[in-house]
Symmetry: C2
Subunit: 214 residues, 2 copies
């Protein structure tokens, strides 16, 4: 392929800092997009856009997310560690610019709910706020933390306490149709995407190509 370029680790190390940050952040593929809601002991709320949420396990239901050492979402991490609770609200197109705006460096006393106009909503099951505008909301309790030594990032694992979503997007086999719910995907640090389903395939078995699911 004549237009292919091979970029070595040495070349990446030599990139300017912002260029490298933007480049490497694109490499992990498309990302999930959530707003993480927390509250501190003085009832001050915080909201932070997250694109590092991943599936950790189904039984018990567990999600993970990565915190970088030097970043804005430090208020989120502090609150999460103080109270032990956090929420994830998935982001749709009408909420997208406000979600991005939560990454601005607001002081601790400013709630990103107030700053962006997104609406806090409480289920009563945990102290942290959800984003009312979001169609898919997940409430979690802190379960484990793992320090990644090489660059001082932190993997936080949370246990799902409740899920709030439209009944219509849950399929007969349990599949949650995020596209139908209007949820966006992310890439890099600042790009947001609609999706269009190509296929769902059945359980793969040796010797036969997987079937298309409806």
């Amino acid at each position: 392929m004549p237009d292919q370029r091979i970029i070595s680790r040495e070349e990446i190390s030599g990139f300017a800092r912002e260029f490298r940050r933007t480049f490497v952040n694109s490499l992990s593929g498309f990302k999930s997009l959530h707003l993480c809601g927390t509250i501190d002991f003085q009832h001050r709320t915080n909201l932070s856009v997250m694109n590092s949420v991943i599936h950790i396990g189904a039984d018990p239901p567990l999600l993970g997310m990565v915190f970088r050492p030097d970043v804005v979402e430090r208020h989120t991490l502090t609150n999460l560690e103080q109270t032990g609770f956090f929420t994830l609200s998935q982001v749709t197109e009408p909420m997208c610019r406000q979600a991005h705006q939560t990454s601005a460096r607001y002081p601790q006393e400013v709630s990103e709910f107030d700053a962006t106009g997104l609406t806090p909503w409480y289920s009563g099951r945990l102290p942290a706020p959800y984003v009312a505008e979001s169609p898919v909301k997940i409430g979690l309790q802190l379960q484990e933390r793992h320090h990644i030594m090489v660059n001082a990032t932190l993997l936080v694992v949370g246990r799902v306490l409740e899920v709030i979503l439209p009944d219509a997007v849950i399929g007969p086999d349990g599949f949650v149709d995020l596209e139908q719910a209007g949820v966006l995907a992310a890439s890099g640090l600042d790009a947001y995407f609609r999706t269009q389903r190509v296929a769902r395939y059945g359980y793969a078995k040796p010797g036969q190509l997987p079937e298309l699911l409806p």
Copy 2:
């Protein structure tokens, strides 16, 4: 919202196993989609679809991925731990069904390259094979492992050794346009998606809405 449903952790625990697995796997939002290539000391190759790859850091460039304890990609994990090297090849629409098929439980002596017809390709910089058909290829060396205690999953962190991709998809600021490269996103265990960009926004600052980037 009258159609909203609140599903508690107790209700999730009571779901049938397959329903719960499908349901919870959808909750983490859209996912990245890679094929992980490895080789063992007998030069037997292995290829496994992964939807848990995440960004860990830019300097040094690091990616992570999660391995479940009871799964097919055990051969991948064994090879990766034996040799210390693995590749990630991002998945496009023409490769999608073959990528899904690599999740079938083939015996160790069967290479998923042979079974699916995907083509192994070697850069010479590391022993593990890439998928020739993939437009975005990343070579990595094992850096760290973290055991998630609550469910015996494993987070593997790899350091990027090289990136191979079309020069045309790298923007002037370092942004890699995965959509232009034809890379897909995933959801749940078996759903695959094209993307359509909604927006890229500039660096967010308090007091002003973020600018649209070209």
